[in-house]
Every structure is written in C-alpha cells, then in structure tokens.
Symmetry: C2
Subunit: 207 residues, 2 copies
DNA sequence: CGTGATTTTTACCGGGCGGTCAAATCGATG
DNA sequence: CATCGATTTGACCGCCCGGTAAAAATCACG
C-alpha cells in the first residue's frame, strides 16, 4: 500500500509533498536531527498521516536517497568518451557547480549521509557509484595517456571536482560568513574553470 | 566549578578524557545524534558524572569547538606574508592535508556543525575566521598583483584549499568505497601539489 | 445517494534522552 | 584516623520521538 507506483491522485500529490518536505528537513538537520513531526508539519500533514505513506523514517529517507541518485549522477554519466576531453571535463565541472547552486539541499543531504559513515547509502557507493567512477576514470586516463589533456590522476581529479563544487552548497554558511552577502557562484564558476583549465592543460601550453 | 582551569589532577584527567570521547562521538554522529550516555560510556564514566564536569551537552560541544579553533586555524595563521608566495601556499595546502589525515574527527565535527547551519559556531565564523581569511586573502592578492604568482581569486583559492583537503576526511567513506582499501593520502599529496602548482604558476611558465 | 475503499484524525504507548538530586564514596590534609 | 571537600553513583523526572490502533471522515463510483 505504501510502495509501488501511486494508485490515486491524492497519493501521488502527498507522496511528492512529503518527499519535498523531507528533503528540506533531512538536509537541514541530518537523519537523527530530523523528526517525523517536523517533516509532517512542513508537508502540512499529521504525523500518522505521513506514516500512512511511508512506513518509517528510515523508509522515507531511503526513498529520497533513491530518488536523488539519478539526478546526482547525471552530470558524470553525461561525460562523453567520444567528446573533446577538456570540454567534457569542464562541462562536468560546470554542471556540478550548477547542481550545488540549484540543489543545495540534495547536496547537504548526501553530505550528511556520508559524514555519518553512509549507514544507508553504502551499498550505492560501493556498487553503482564506484563502477560509474571507475568507468569514467578509465576514460579520463585514456585522454591523459594520449596527451589530449595533461597527465592527471583520474580518481583524484574526480574527487577534486566533487569537493570544489559541493563545497559551495555544503559549506554555504561558512562561505556566506566570509563573503558577506555576495553571491559566490558567479566568481566560483570563473575560478573553477581557471583551476581545472590549468590542471588539464597539456604540458607546454599556456592559457 | 565546571569552568576555569582545573584545580585537581582528577579534574584535569577527566575533562581531557571526556573531551576526547566527545570529539569521537560528536564527529561520528553529529550534535543531535550524539548522546551524553554514549559519550560518558566512551569516556568510562557515568552520565551524571560527566555532567559534573560539563553543565550540559551544549556546553561540552562548545568547549570542544573552542579547543579546536586554534589547532584548526594554525595552518592558515602560519602563512607568512614575508615568505616565498608559492612555497607559503603549497605549505599551507600540505599542512591542511596533514590535518585531514591526522585529525579527521576534528574535520568531521566542524563539517557537521557547518552543515547544520553553524548554530553554535556562527559567531566564530563571522568574527575570528572571517578576519583571518580576509587578512590572508589580502596577502595573496598582493602576491598576485605583483606577479609573484599567477592571477588568482584569493578567497576562492582559500575555499578550494579547504574543500580539497577536508574532502579526504569528511567524505572518507566515499573515497574509501571508490579507492577500495588503498590509502588515498600519498596520491592526494602529489595530486594537490600538482593542482595548486598549476593554478599558482605565473603566466608563461611551464611546470 | 449509498457503499466500500481510501485517507485522515485522535488517542495512545514504550523507550530514550537531557538533566536533576540527594546520598554515598573517595581522597587529601592534619 | 578524623574531617571536609571533591567525586561518583543510583534513582528518578519530564519531555520528545518513532510508531501503532482504531475510529472517523472523505472520496470514487455505480
């Protein structure tokens, strides 16, 4: 009754509302810090009513995680082995940065999960994520070996892209405290292009 | 009775033990996820006994935060305006990476705090941290303007150093899942030197 | 508009958590 | 070894939280 595609209009609407509210609350307070009551309130429902749609807090969190995975990995999946290497990687960087700007809650929810030791997401990390990363790392290694980009450590390059882009979402408060009221994203976009442009440049070139 | 320098040997020993245990538990579970009971147990004390040394969970967390601040900002403070620019920055990167390797719990505790919106650390961010960062950013800007390093955005350069180095502590589980059992730090050190070396290079130079 | 399924509400439970209190124990000092 | 402060313990409180049960309200459909 709680799983499987929604059978009624009400179910579809409420499940979506709940997921949205839960994303907000989980991202802001982490799993333990979030309470069903708060999520229900944010969704405009009573607690038992929410539990009518999701068996448990755990199930709700898991549902979000699954929903998010596709969105989250899309930019990396979109990196085309047949494309122009430098452009592919810089596009990946740009799309990841847009992800932080447009979906900071998703970023913080993931960050929370990983920080706590990924108690719920570990299978995904070791399965889907690892194989995708290994696949794309191989592509980058190929580009690097053929001299189309400079010599790079593909895995650490990917880590760097994650770290640099997600930082603006996950540590938003800190960035904000230091930058005052200034929106960091325009400058960040330019900066990240500069950083990765420099790293990817084949030896002997100058930007 | 709970504040001020410890008056007895027992107090000094127990306060230290508690802080150590609390660091462990707070880093692993966040503020809300950590329980006084768990911390007390990890410290080998009873819950009321712990509360004899720290008035409340809040006070304990705050004490840790204060204790940590010096350790945490030391690498940035150590950046010498009179030193050789490239070396100063690369040394900062190296020291920050060592911080992630040798003090991952501290890193994760901070990350947790910031992620939750820095409810307890915000004053420090907007005061001490901001002024230190602004000061060092000005130094870097000077180096950049005088052409001793390439043109960089000082604030975003600092953010990048934080993001890249802390990533290895805060997202350790994810890095571990992808790298298998391999220790990422040796490769990370080389990689980060490569990255920042490339970014800092004055135009026209080649590494 | 009646009827059966769906949705929502009200009331509640058991456990855990932050914190208190008073009594008991320990430990240094004379 | 007596004494007094420092330390530790056990018992407890009130609140919140995740989750349940069953009745009540609502809805879709003939």
């Amino acid at each position: 009754m709680t799983d499987s595609p929604p059978r009624t209009r009400i179910q579809a609407r409420n499940r979506a509302t709940i997921l949205e509210a839960a994303l907000e609350v989980f991202a802001a307070h982490g799993f333990r810090g979030a309470t069903i009551d708060r999520i229900a309130q944010a969704a405009g429902l009573s607690k038992p009513n929410l539990l009518y749609y999701f068996r448990s807090k755990e199930a709700l969190h898991l549902a979000i995680l699954e929903d998010l995975m596709d969105l989250w990995l899309a930019p990396l999946r979109g990196m085309d082995p047949e494309g122009e290497p430098r452009e592919q990687i810089l596009t990946y960087v740009r799309r990841k940065l847009e992800m932080s700007r447009d979906h900071p809650r998703e970023s913080r929810l993931f960050a929370n999960e990983i920080l706590q030791g990924a108690p719920r997401a570990r299978p995904v990390l070791e399965g889907e994520l690892k194989s995708l990363v290994d696949e794309k790392a191989a592509v980058i290694a190929g580009w690097s070996a053929s001299g189309r980009i400079g010599p790079v450590d593909p895995h650490h390059l990917i880590f760097s892209i994650w770290a640099l882009t997600q930082h603006y979402a996950d540590f938003e408060v800190q960035v904000g405290a230091i930058m005052g009221g200034t929106d960091p994203y325009p400058a960040a976009e330019i900066w990240l292009e500069q950083v990765f442009g420099a790293v990817l440049a084949p030896p002997g070139e100058t930007g």
